[in-house]
Amino acid sequence: MDTFITGKIDVKHVSIYYGKFRAVKDVTISIPDHKITALIGPSGCGKSTLLRSLNRMNDLIPSSHIEGSITFHGMDIYERSVDPVEVRRHIGMVFQKPNPFPRSIYENVAWGARINGFQQRLGHPSLDEWVEICLIKAALWDEVKDKLRSSGLSLSGGQQQRLCIARAIATRPEVILMDEPASALDPIATLRIEELMRELAAEFTIVVVTHNMQQAARVSDYTAFLTMDHDRSGILVEHGNTPQIFTNPVDSRTEGYITGRFG
């Protein structure tokens, strides 16, 4: 019954600092393959920081540094020989606020594939076909197939977020990180994103940060609960499969948070 022996991504004793401030303290967690893992916890507990460290997006903040190891396919992604650009290509990301490029819908999806060396080969999809496949997978194709050339910014918020998902899967990542992907959307659009996440789990490993308890309970297979330690740095309290965390948490802090949030 123990699913966490070795996952798609293994986080071991990771601490993340912004300058002198430690935002995440000694987290060890394994992300299982082809499942959805939700990171929950109060705001400021470092769950977004932890998520962004999984594909080295934190590197872009000049003052940040990391201790511990994060392995992907058995390789430490923070090792010197590793290229952060390659990491992000295999571990894609969807952000809190939909942020399509101010370009056509088609270009939004095609660009990532193109810069990552997309090749047109016989028996394999052409770029046009690949854009179509990605948009279908992102459940957006029917809505945009007649206006691929119009700007990505012309879509509604929910459509923009699905476009961002299509953009993320177009580079054929194995893992998709989602940082509160539905927090800027209305309830109906949120529901569509959640359905989409379930569909994508068949093909991708997904890690999602959310502060919406119902959402975590609805979509995730596994849930990790983080909270703030007394020195304001984030610690991992417990993680396990979602029904267990929500119905029978081991730690009292988890129980307190969940019952408080469910009201």
């Binding site: 992907f72 396919h73 058995g74 390789m75 992604i77 010197r80 020989s81 590793v82 290229d83 650009v85 390659e86 990491v87 295999h90 028996g123 394999h124 999809p125 076909e129 496949i133 054929r172 194995e174 093909e203």
Partner: protein, 313 residues
């Protein structure tokens, strides 16, 4: 179609997956950009080094004495007299006159625009000031010579006001830096939060009381910076004084007489065909160096004032 994609993924899953690529293009671009970043440092060093190098023969010549340079009241290279005071004095005269015009009008305009003017009026006056700021200085020089000087001569008499005089140059220089001071001051005043004004109105203060007791003190660092930048601009201004202030260094306190400023002297002497390695040539670099450090310290002072006083707030 999709299965074949999945197969490709499987083949690529090796420990080499994330290996750092040798992105030569990226590295080349990055080093080019770093080089660009350092160009500005090279320029500053170049100014200090080149000006210093060319000025060195002047400073080290036997005719040069630092005391005499800084306190002498005659600048006549022909007879080896190098007192920089006449030039500095003329620069100060024009600058002071310019400030007498630019500070009251500039700050007055700024207060009017930020506190009194309607949005519509502001949106017409601000571009007008920008036009004024965008006119080349040689045009201001023309204005000084063809309008302000004749005007002064009619006003005060032709025997009082010389054809070339520092007053005319100073007045026009004031008009030149007026938009600069006005727009910087307006920015500073506009940055004062509304809540501060409302607090004063809430106590029954009139508009002008609010402005003088609350808004101006809150914006004082910005206003000071605007004035300092204005001074620096006036000291370095060249074409107006070259055209209107007069040729030939002269130690005088009378603004109606002609006198040559530091910049005016550099332009006049270098405009003629000057032979390198003459003491004239080298002395110009001495003056330039003095000018450079004067304006540099003023500019740094203004940045410091903004930083320091905004910390206090």
């Amino acid at each position: 179609m999709i299965p074949s994609q999945t197969k490709l993924i499987d083949e690529k899953v090796t420990s080499q997956l994330l290996k750092k690529r040798n992105r030569l293009g990226e590295r080349f671009i990055e080093s080019t950009l770093v080089f660009c970043g350092f160009i500005s440092i090279f320029i500053t060093l170049g100014i200090v080094f080149e000006l210093g190098k060319e000025a060195l023969p002047f400073f080290s010549s036997t005719d040069f004495k630092l005391i005499k340079f800084l306190t002498g009241t005659t600048w006549q290279p022909q007879i080896k007299l190098f007192g920089v005071l006449p030039l500095v004095m003329a620069t100060l005269t024009t600058t002071v006159i310019a400030l007498l015009i630019a500070i009251p009008f500039g700050i007055g305009i700024a207060i009017y625009l930020s506190e009194y003017a309607s949005v519509k009026l502001r949106s017409t006056i601000k571009p007008t000031l920008e036009i004024l700021a965008g006119i080349p200085t040689v045009v201001y020089g023309y204005f000084a010579l063809s309008f302000v000087t004749p005007f002064l001569r009619v006003l005060f008499g032709k025997d009082v006001v010389e054809i070339y005089n520092t007053a005319s140059a100073g007045i026009v220089m004031g008009i030149l830096i007026l938009p600069l001071i006005a727009s910087m001051s307006e920015d500073a005043l506009a940055a004062v939060p509304r809540s501060l004004r409302e607090a004063a109105y809430g106590l029954g203060a009139t508009k002008i009381e609010t402005t003088y007791r609350v808004v101006i003190p809150a914006a004082i660092s910005g206003l000071a910076a605007a004035i300092i930048v204005g001074i620096s601009r006036a000291i370095g201004e060249t074409m107006i004084v070259a055209l209107a202030a007069g040729a030939g260094p002269k130690f005088t306190f009378n603004p109606f007489q002609g006198a040559e400023t530091m910049t005016g002297h550099i332009v006049r002497v270098s405009g003629g065909d000057l032979s390198y390695d003459s003491i004239d040539y080298n002395s110009l670099f001495g003056i330039s160096l003095l000018l450079f450090f004067m304006t540099l310290s003023l500019n740094m002072l203004s940045q410091w004032v903004v930083r320091k006083l905004s910390e206090v707030k």
